[in-house]
Amino acid sequence: MKTSATDITLAQEMEEAARVAHEMRVKRDQRARMGRLLKHLFLISVSIVMLYPLLWLLASSLKPENDIFGSLTLWPTEFQWHNYVDGWHGLPVSFTIFYINSTIVTVLSVIGNLISCSFAAYAFARLQFTGRTFLFGLMMMTLMIPYHVVLIPQYVQFLRLGWVDTYLPLVVPRFLASDAFFIFLMVQFFRQLPRELDEAAMIDGCSPFKIYWAIILPLSLPALGTAAIFSLIWTWEDFLAPLIYLNDIKSYTVPLALRLFLDQEGQSSYGQMFAMSVLSLVPVVIAFLLFQKLIVRGIATSGMK
């Protein structure tokens, strides 16, 4: 601050201050814009690195064999669409069969998960009963158990029942709420629904089943949708259980079929293998594009209380 007796008036001083402030603001805005730009540049480069492997897979499925390796260019010199046709029939059994098999297992698993997990979740979230806390604790503990620990006795048991080489070992557990994760996800959602709904319905003489069916389920479509999508994707990609339980190639699911390509590496072409790999991802990508919101919200809410 100038205090000496000069000819600078108060007005001039204020003007000066305003100019400095304006300059600072401009500079700050510029810096913020620069920051945003840098951030975008960085995120775009990460995006490219993230997507490149997928694009490379797609490109390789269309390239001539000797173009695939050692080349970074994604654009094929000539498009080999026949990789898809040849790959589809590239194994002793056509992929039509594998897709039908995978679809059967997936659809049944999704239905099983939705019914059995919403049943259990409804009891845990909305009903009072003796032993609730204890059983809920048990259910949460099963989340931690690795599938490998129960695998051997389950296999022995299913073998005795004559279920090996059928889809029963893959599907029946889903009807017994074996994926506790979905129970947890639904419990989190059911709990948020207002209690007054149940109470009012109860006073009107609704049975618990009626409340579950006519009130809770219709209000919980987002949670059910999330569970259905994850259940679909995980079942579609599942490898270990089919690997153990399915021996006959005619009953193979898509992931098992893909592995056959690997076993005959050298004999069959890479282009065909990549083409079928791309196709195996299509249902997952479609589910993701259609239901992105449900998936994102599902992870955010099940991950958090």
Partner: protein, 310 residues
Amino acid sequence: MWRGSISPLKASFMRRFIARNAPAYAFLTPWLLGFFLLALGPILASLYLSFTRYDMVNAPRWVGLANYEYMFTRDRRFWKALEVTFTYVALAVPARLIMALGVAMLLDKGLRTIGLYRAIFYLPSLLGASIAIAILWRQLFAADGVVNAVLGYFGIQGAAWITNPDTSLYTLVVLAMWQFGSPMLIFLAGLRGIPKDLYEAAEIDGTPKWRQFTRITLPLLAPVIFFNLVLQTIEAFKTFSSAFIISNGTGAPADSLLFYTVYLFNEAFKFFRMGYASALAWVLLIIIAIFTAISFLTSKYWVHYENERD
């Protein structure tokens, strides 16, 4: 007690008890059946089998602690599998979480196109578990693969990543990093929950960005970090499909990809040493249980929940 006369009082109590609980247990029936038949029963059965020699042809023969004794004292592959798995967990989990947190923080502040980035970053997490991606990974890191082509562009001579036992495990760590999407989404939700005025106040006080991160973001995000850490570690211990495919189902080269689950699978379903494999399974269960217990027991020292403060 049930003989003869039940007093009317007791009978009505019983009736009310049943009426109160029947609907809930009806709804729980599928899960209860599953719990006993698919979880508890098999876990106990596998404990029993772990004390036997069992090849699926002859009946299980009791051998006491022999399986465990062999495992801990003579089985080199068991120790190798532990080494591979622990190395993987120790590298892959932090790498994935740091990646997830870093990107989540970039996305959290002031970007309008967040949805697109979020979708791109999340997609690999959905696809990553599939066999197609494992097949792709084998080719990317092959001696004549894309990774070496990129390195060659910069004049670097790349290794045969997959077939070299010194480097093969890192290709799986990179695969794990590539799938940082789901912890990223959870971090994003957590970051949303931190009040923005905290940062504004810090900004006015001239607190440098790094200290804002260590003093505001990290402590307030601790519960979410904890949750992700536990979840991702359990996931990492269970890694199977990608390791199985990339190592040709055997843990090759030179057992450098002998993940615990791959070893267990081979003992059980290739060599039909079901008793020994059951013992392996129980050790895995105990390892995961110990890890989870440690995280929960220590969590009170470094995780503070917002609503617990007085």
